[in-house]
């Protein structure tokens, strides 16, 4: 009997269908914007699925706000995970938890959840400035820990968490950098590193939303707690709470931490007394002269979120779970791109790469269409953590070193924004694998 979380996929494919899709597949890997449909995402439900009987990881979630709920809902779709405990200090959140899960134990104190010996893995999604105590106590309790980033709102707390994680050699620690576990990103980066865009000339990313970032509650005290992102003493700003993920992606592909950052920030729209900038800019300098520009705003939603990597032969744009290659007219022919799907972006043409198209066709999936098996980056990250719990330990794609260093980069970028200044990164701030 199959597991209902991952029922088998349609297997039947007649010969004509196979040939038709096969020809699409062989063409797809060849052509202006080429969609880098990247990764052969793991095909859950078929060969990828492991048979582990009824073994499931007992999960506890600490912090059931918006992201905690997202984690819980995602875990609910993961084969070997079971949400057994949820903790939040606000009764309304626990009510919501009770409405979404059956047979879940609710706590209003995370220490009680940590005392529950049946819970082996905890997912920490509290406000950033509360991470330190929760993480260190969870590790001390022998739990495996998945902690959201930024790990903390100060360098000192970040370092303390890192030391605790490194000392807890019997616990798996994974931080919430889901792009690191995302097959799409991995495939795209392999593609870039293979030289498809030539030598790197620049990188740029943006995150645009129209949103006040303010949270509301029926009670004043709760509202104050909820709005920690707008509290100058606690917030890591747009650079920390949002930019960190895209900044980390840039550093990941460059395989280095930046050497300096120049930042600035303004309150351009939400003039409600806040001091936290609703619009920020930063330029990160890397060894070798490469510059990465980052913009984020809460004042305008145009063009949303994307990352762009520029080279002398082309540009790769990553957006959602897709990517496109925009070739320079004088770039050498790669071969596969000739027949790939192309999407128009005003006067530009992006080549949409559908990697592993033959396998998609074999599963009855049109390589040019959205793949129903593609999951969110969060799904892949949590699945990796759960898998590590059951079958590890193995080094997580986003372990304590990655989480610590990404947090340091972002906290200092926020400092540059707040001070409207240039900040040089001291190499001693970063952890290395040695």
């Amino acid at each position: 009997m199959h597991d209902p979380k991952h029922p088998p996929l349609p297997a039947a494919l007649d010969r004509r269908d196979f040939l038709r899709r096969g020809s699409i597949a062989s063409m797809a890997v060849m052509v202006g914007g080429v969609e880098l449909h990247a990764a052969p995402a793991p095909r859950h439900g078929t060969a990828y699925r492991r048979k582990l009987g009824d073994e499931r990881v007992a999960c506890g979630i600490i912090g059931y706000g918006e992201w905690g709920r997202e984690i819980a809902a995602t875990l609910d779709r993961i084969e070997n995970a079971r949400v057994e405990a949820i903790c939040d200090t606000f009764p309304l959140m626990l009510q919501r938890a009770a409405g979404s899960f059956t047979d879940v134990t609710l706590y209003d104190d995370y220490r009680q959840l940590l005392d529950n010996a049946a819970i082996t893995a905890v997912f920490i999604a509290t406000p950033t400035h509360l991470h330190r105590d929760v993480v260190t106590e969870a590790l001390a309790a022998g739990k495996h820990v998945y902690c959201e980033v930024p790990l903390a709102h100060t360098l000192a707390d970040t370092r303390a968490i890192a030391e605790a994680a490194q000392a807890a050699t019997d616990s798996i620690f994974q931080c919430g950098l889901p792009y690191r576990s995302n097959p799409q990103h991995r495939n795209i980066f392999q593609f870039i590193r293979s030289g498809a865009i030539g030598s790197a000339s620049a990188a740029r990313a943006q995150w645009n939303r129209k949103n006040s970032w303010r949270r509301a509650s029926a009670t004043t005290a709760r509202e104050r707690e909820l709005n920690w992102r707008l509290d100058h003493a606690l917030s890591t700003g747009l650079m920390g709470e949002i930019g960190l993920h895209q900044i980390d992606v840039a550093g990941w592909i460059v395989r280095a931490a930046p050497v300096a950052v120049v930042g600035s920030g303004q309150v351009m729209h939400w003039r409600d007394g806040r001091r936290i900038a609703d619009t920020v800019q930063a330029i990160f300098e890397f060894d070798g002269g490469l510059h990465f520009t980052y913009n984020a705003t809460l004042a305008n939603s145009f063009d949303g979120e994307y990352d762009a990597f520029y080279g002398n032969d082309g540009t790769v744009v990553v957006r959602d779970s897709k990517a496109w290659l925009f070739k320079e007219v004088d770039a050498p022919l790669l071969g596969w791109e000739v027949y790939a799907r192309k999407d128009r972006f005003y006067r530009e043409e992006g080549v949409a790469l559908v990697a592993d198209a033959t396998k998609l066709a074999a599963q009855g999936i049109d390589p040019a269409a959205d793949d129903p098996n593609v999951e969110t980056p969060l799904f892949y990250a949590l699945e990796e953590f759960v898998d590590n719990n059951l079958n590890g330990p193995f080094p997580p794609a986003a372990g304590i070193i990655e989480g610590h260093n990404a947090t340091v980069v972002a906290l200092k970028a926020n400092e540059a924004v707040v001070r409207n200044a240039r900040v040089e990164y001291d190499p001693s701030w970063f952890l290395t694998a040695d």
Partner: protein
């Protein structure tokens, strides 16, 4: 309560525009609450979309014929409710109607009469009997292949219901929400301390200056469905896009239907079903749904400006006091 402030928010979702008007005393608090409600609507679009292969509904349609698929408890409860509404409406509200819509070329197309064999095949794949809900395991399974779920008939209303819960949880006491002006939910009161008033427009303009009806909404929802907006002619016959799932063809002589209920989900389903049921069978349907009211204007009565059937909805047009965004008129 001192309602000095009001905030208006909007988003595009489910192929239409949602708008929220929230009122209270603290503008910043209202905006924060409204943004959370908007996020809920957008999250539900990502979950319920028939057109996104990566949505929960897309995954169900791709996999549930091959085995039971676990779904989020809230989505499971929605599917259960859809099942109940299907029964209460004599099968006229049916979330499995997709194959028929596709066969009549109403999906991303302009519509045409299908060949008999094609129609027969589509009809075999339609019906809630093909959808097996396992409440113990929270799973969904299709009893045969070719079945598709399309929650488009209740998704807007459901999104409004969920958004309203978010607003109330955040302390908002007064709000009017709509999706595409055809699904509307209101709680609390409007600026004049009166229930929110929503006009149901005359089905066709023809110089009509007065609304067909005015509905005072206090902790209630209104949904309006109409057949025009998407229709085609063939051999002198006009076929609208509202389907009678039991007959496998577009509803005849339907015009406009409206439903009022505590639940916007129910109102959406019932308004659609009333169009198919017609005036003669509407009463028995509403009798099974206490607290739900409706009206119907058949195609024959449209030009006469006559309401064909009404149960519990105020038909006296109000000349004043309508809220600016409260204009209920749309197609199903």
């Amino acid at each position: 309560m001192n309602k000095m402030a009001s905030v208006r928010l909007a988003c595009h979702a489910m192929a239409t525009r949602f708008e929220l008007l929230v009122a209270g005393s603290d503008e910043a608090q209202l905006r924060g609450a409204g943004e959370e409600a908007v996020a809920m609507i957008q999250r539900l679009e990502a979950q319920l979309s028939f057109y996104r292969a990566t949505s929960d509904v897309g995954r169900l349609n791709a996999r549930a014929a091959y085995g039971a698929v676990a779904v989020e408890p809230a989505l499971f409860r929605l599917l259960q409710r859809a099942h109940e509404l299907h029964a209460a409406t004599a099968g006229m509200f049916d979330i499995t109607v997709g194959p028929l819509m596709r066969c009549w070329r109403f999906v991303r197309d302009t519509g045409s009469v299908p060949a008999p064999a094609e129609l027969a095949d589509a009809r075999r794949r339609v019906g809630m009997r093909h959808v097996e809900l396992d409440a113990m395991e929270c799973t969904v399974r299709f009893a045969r292949d070719g079945v598709e779920l399309d929650l488009g008939g209740i998704a807007k209303g459901y999104a409004l219901d969920r958004a309203a819960v978010v607003l109330r949880d955040a302390g908002v006491e007064h709000a009017l929400l709509h999706g595409g002006t055809s699904s509307i939910l209101a709680f609390g009161t409007s600026h004049d301390e009166q229930p929110w008033k929503v006009a149901v427009e005359q089905p066709r303009t023809h110089g009509a200056t007065q609304p067909l009806a005015v509905v005072a909404l206090h902790n209630r929802a209104l949904s309006v469905s109409a057949v025009w907006g998407k229709a085609f002619s063939s051999n002198g016959k006009v076929y609208g896009h509202v389907m009678d799932p039991t007959m496998g063809r577009p509803v005849k002589r339907a015009g406009l239907a409206a439903a009022v209920s505590d639940s916007a989900t129910d109102a959406d389903a019932v308004a659609t079903a009333l169009l198919a049921l017609g005036a003669a069978r509407a009463g028995s349907c509403l009798a099974q749904l206490p607290g739900t009211f409706g009206l119907i204007v058949t195609d024959d009565d449209i030009d006469k400006g006559r309401v064909s059937f009404s149960h519990g909805i105020d038909l006296v047009p109000a000349r004043t006091g309508l809220h600016s965004i409260a204009k209920a008129y749309n197609h199903a």
